[in-house]
Amino acid sequence: MRALCWHGKNDIRCDTVPDPKIEDPRDAIIKVTTCAICGSDLHLFDGFMPGMQSGDIMGHEFMGEVMEVGSGAKDSLKVGDRIVVPFTITCGECEQCRRGNFSVCERSNRNKDIADKLFGHTTAGLFGYTHLTGGYPGGQAEYVRVPFADKTHVKVPNGMTDEQALFLGDIFPTGWQGVVQCDIQPTDTVAIWGCGPVGQFAIRSAVLLGAKQIIAIDNVPERLAMAQAGGAITINFDEESTVERLNELTQGKGPEKCIDCVGMEAHATATLDSMYDRAKQALMLESDRAHVLREMMYVCRPAGTISIPGVYGGLIDKVPMGMVMNKGLTIRTGQTHVKRWTDDLLRRIEDGQIDPSFVITHTVGLEQGPEMYKTFREKQDGCIKVVLKP
């Protein structure tokens, strides 16, 4: 089969690789009908995440048709079912899964020992996202093996298109959880850093959850236009001071809720700390750039909440913990507990409250994937979300 494989920094190729096979009774094999490139795939493409090996299959946003089901998953799935596959692989039985903390499933990471060493304790296995999280082949391919398939799936109802359902696997629940963990109140101003796909879904989630005012921050005009269409007031940080504008919009008090939809590759601005991060990262003295975190901690209203759905991989420097402590800020973060939200979000799509396909800007074949990684990273051609059709 064909698949997009990682071969090093800035090097993703469309290779021919062996087809997947059932390896465990709880496995299923699906034929991928639609998949996508995620912003967090760019961290692998840019070489910022450790634990990748040449030939690893990329992709953790995918859906398709069930082709084969292991004996242990037959009660939940049958051949021909259309499913979206959450990017977090979940056993559904461990203590964390029973609590709904699916992204820290205790059993699905087959490289648990490595994760234990790196993170202190293991997190869930992920598709196509380094050997630290299991080294599972990803979904930017024609076929995928889905481990724990009896639990790791969302059935797609008839009549719903792939484009409407696909993002239930990651970015929609990720934006949603980022907002939910802020515990939005009707009086809240929510500031969202980053108008990429997760930021776009966070904006719509904040609308659905009833925030009074939503402010979106980015410097790409077309992304800001999409954010505005979703109900946000926008700040272009190339043109105005984020901190000054946020204070102006909140009568000098700062937003109650701040959401980081950017993560470890915050773009350098003209600020000193951004240049510092760039220099330290270039010299391998720091793995993640923390400009957005620092800005959120600075501008957030005292007793406010900071939510971090953006991906961080390792170490950050110069975090103003004094601000966090003295202002009494609450920080909530984590990979998305996808399955916790999908039933509710699926219902909202069916109900017409939201149509997630709004975010798709490019649809191409799998063989154009390597080129699209660059287009997406460089934000060329108005690219916000790339969907691939294997």
């Binding site: 776009q200 719509r204 009833g210 236009a225 999409m226 010299l283 609450t330 409250q353 080129e371």
Partner: protein, 322 residues
């Protein structure tokens, strides 16, 4: 939605290879700079320029700065051109040292090495500049898509504002902790009380007993949800019915001594805090009563008993923490 049509992949590869070369030059620059900075005397002796060790150190700082600039910047082009300028400076420094120099051979070798690196710097800088100009041309010509109609909400954004609040069950583990909720004049801010009541509706079934015992003392705007929430927290923490019994005991014993405006919720909350802090509900109840009784009698009228209870609880917590 539209199909992709960007610049050719060949141009991208050319730019990528130039960036790769620039990265290599950046590391080389840092390495050379460190050598010049840390071993200026050895270098100056090798080149027969003993009196120039200070200048060599300064050049080392320059090399390190340009190296970091190349590695850290989004666009290394100006930094690579800065290297070309630095190369010229190096050659201009070395050339006058050739005549009458006992280490003439070494100086000539150094000049040849610098000339070689200069050629690499020039090639890299030119490739980067060409690629940058090409990108700028494409940028000017590129089709800027209009996404201003992509709300993602077929029924309109304003129609959808807050629609999920009607039926979304806020998970308990993601709610703002009670202690961090807005608190005004001894009670939660009104805007939040209603919201809490709606978001906590699910807890009522499991904790009817707690609700009933406490809600009669609450002001209308202070939702019984808070009481339920507190009791729910207790049960969640302890995971057993024994705790609920203790909770009732704590509520009963405390509420009788409090003014009407002191909500049972707050008393329960205090007891809950103590239970959580101590890990032993029996002790918590005793401590709580002891803390409340002597303090409340000394209070001014405008100081609500709630505050006293809270203070006592805080003290208990603080004492434990310390």
């Amino acid at each position: 939605m539209h199909q992709h049509h960007s610049g050719s992949s060949q141009q991208m590869m050319s730019r990528d290879s130039a960036r790769g070369l620039a990265q290599g030059l950046g590391w080389f620059s840092i390495g050379l700079g460190l050598m010049e900075l840390l071993a200026p005397r050895q270098l100056s002796r090798t080149l027969g320029m003993e009196e120039q060790s200070g200048l060599i150190q300064a050049y080392g700082v320059r090399e390190i700065a340009t190296g970091i600039g190349i590695l850290a910047s989004r666009d290394p082009t100006p930094w690579v051109w800065a290297r070309v300028g630095g190369d010229a400076l190096d050659l201009a420094t070395l050339a006058p040292a050739v005549p009458d120099n006992p280490q003439k051979g070494n100086v000539l070798v150094a000049m040849m090495a610098v000339a070689g690196v200069t050629a690499l710097d020039l090639i890299c800088a030119q490739q980067l500049s060409t690629a940058r100009q090409q990108e700028q041309r494409e940028q000017r010509l590129r089709y800027l898509p209009d996404y201003s109609n992509r709300s993602g909400m077929p029924r309109g954004v304003e129609q959808m504002r807050g629609v999920a609040r009607q039926d979304f069950e806020m998970p308990r583990d993601m709610q703002t902790p009670e202690a961090l909720r807005p608190w005004t004049d001894g009670r939660p801010a009104q805007a939040d009380a209603g919201a809490m009541a709606s978001s906590l509706g699910t807890a009522t079934t499991d904790h009817d007993a707690a609700n009933t015992s406490s809600s009669s003392n609450l002001k209308p705007q202070l939702s019984s949800a808070q009481v339920v929430r507190t009791a729910a927290d207790q049960v969640g923490v302890k995971g057993g019915s024994g705790t609920a019994a203790n909770h009732d005991a704590a509520t009963t014993s405390s509420s009788s001594s409090l003014k009407p405006q002191l909500s049972s919720a707050q008393v329960v909350r205090t007891a809950a805090d103590q239970v959580g802090a101590k890990g032993d509900s029996g002790t918590a109840t005793t401590n709580h009563d002891a803390a409340t009784t002597p303090s409340s009698s000394n209070l001014k009228p405008q100081l609500s008993s709630a505050q006293v209870v809270r203070t006592a609880a805080d003290q208990v917590g603080t004492a434990k923490d310390r």
